[in-house]
């Protein structure tokens, strides 16, 4: 009798917490930063609503089968892929995410690490079915959204322990920005880092040799590009209406799956917002 009453009360409180959880914030402001794969193509002529809708269906399906965590360029990520030729049929690689490219199902991210003194960069496609697990060991951002310059930086900036324990990010707090300024090796470099406006490089312009600075007028004075509003509109692929609809679609997909009882996994998450 008493056990039954206790059981009933337990069920009631569980239902209450579930009801509270469903009254979540229905839209995230940082959606284009957390889910850059759901944005339309940066190439204007390749944007097709039907193509995007079909891709989105496949992307949401995949996200229901594997947990794709939130990570940014500058976060330390561990990826476990399935390898048919290894004794343990798995291979795990840990590295810092240096870039995230391509829209939709093609979305790729590159991890960099220094293994036995040799710099290694591995590119993974986010929706590759042979990926077994993606874990964010350390969630943080950097001063740039493209860390390709680490290839010319001193090795200590790209070395990360393969056995790094995951550092939990307190949910609800903003994602920390790591403002390290990286020291580059002696020039010449693989790319002209001194010409770009990378905030995360320490004194690139001062290190570059005079030969590379000879056409300063044409090459260096590029500050006007940040004022080009329509170039930014085309390249950043952000449209408030599109993002709102995509988020609604995600929540609807989640709801349908949860109701059918197949899984309780959630797709629309934000570490900073706590949902």
């Amino acid at each position: 009798m008493r056990a039954a009453a206790r059981g009933a009360r337990g069920l009631a409180s569980a239902a209450q917490t579930a009801a509270k959880k469903t009254q979540q914030k229905q839209s995230i402001d940082d959606f284009p930063l957390i889910y850059p794969d759901f944005l339309p193509s940066p190439v204007w002529n390749r944007r097709s609503a039907l193509f995007e809708r079909l891709q989105r269906a496949d992307m949401l399906e995949r996200r229901m089968h594997i947990d794709i965590p939130e990570f940014y360029v500058g976060s330390i990520v561990a990826v476990t892929t399935s390898e048919p030729n290894l004794a343990t049929r798995q291979n795990r690689f840990v590295g810092i995410c240096i870039r995230r490219e391509r829209p939709g199902l093609l979305h790729q991210f590159t991890l960099r690490n220094v293994v036995d003194g040799l710099g290694v960069e591995v590119m993974y496609e986010l929706y590759n079915p042979t990926i077994l697990k993606i874990e964010t060991l350390k969630l943080e951002k950097r001063l740039d959204t493209d860390l390709s310059y680490l290839i010319d930086a001193l090795p200590e900036y790209s070395t990360f322990d393969f056995n790094l324990e995951p550092i939990a990010h307190p949910v609800g707090t903003p994602v920390p920005i790591n403002d390290t300024q990286v020291k580059l090796r002696q020039p010449p470099w693989t790319q002209r880092w001194e010409l770009y406006d990378f905030k995360g490089i320490d004194k690139a312009w001062l290190q570059a040799t005079p030969y590379y600075k000879r056409k300063l007028r044409i090459t260096k004075v590029e500050d006007y590009m940040k004022y080009d509003l329509i170039r930014a509109y085309r390249d950043d692929c952000q449209e408030a209406e599109h993002e709102k609809n995509t988020q609604k679609e995600m929540l609807e997909f989640e709801r349908a799956r949860h109701e059918s009882g197949a899984t309780k996994r959630r797709i629309l998450k934000s570490a900073a917002d706590g949902i």
């Binding site: 204007w44 004075v221 509109y233 952000q238 408030a240």
Partner: protein, 158 residues
């Protein structure tokens, strides 16, 4: 390199070309010449609210002025990014005040699916381009009128 600005602004409701047009003007050198030319047009448009120019340039200017108004309406004039853009795009600084007190409040309650500007195409016109002493150079182009909606002039096409 370039960080995305969040929260995102709505879609720009006017047609935008898939590649930017090359705009030439004598005192400005490429490639930043294009933006300098557009800056002049945007400043003139905010000052006079209805201007006439070559049709291809009017089409190029239209999305820029739309975006500038959207920045004011959706991000607010007190935002750092909005202020930076306004200060750069509007060469005459009293126009920043005009944007804040006249133009942005005009579109605060506007329906979200309509553009803030109108573009009317005029016929092919032959006009005086440059006068050098006794020599007058003519040019023949299709022109267009671009105007910010809600301006005090009588309506076109009425």
């Amino acid at each position: 390199m370039a960080h995305r600005i969040v929260p995102s602004l709505p879609r720009i409701k006017v047609p935008i070309g898939h590649i930017p047009q090359r705009l030439k003007a004598r005192p400005f050198e490429a490639p930043q010449g294009r933006l300098e030319v557009l800056r002049q047009f945007v400043t003139r448009l905010v000052r006079e609210e209805r201007i006439e120019m070559k049709a291809n340039r009017a089409e190029e200017t239209r999305p820029y002025i739309e975006r500038l108004i959207q920045l004011g309406v959706f991000r607010g004039m007190n935002d750092d990014y909005t202020q930076e853009m306004m200060q750069w795009w509007l060469l005459e600084k009293d126009l920043v005040d005009k944007m804040e007190h006249v133009i942005v409040p005009r579109f605060q309650e506007a329906p979200i699916n309509e553009p803030y500007t109108n573009l009317f195409n005029l016929p092919f016109t032959r006009y005086e381009n440059r006068v050098r002493g006794k020599r007058i150079h003519y040019n023949a182009r299709p022109l267009a009128v671009i105007e910010i909606k809600g301006n005090p002039y009588p309506e076109i096409g009425a």
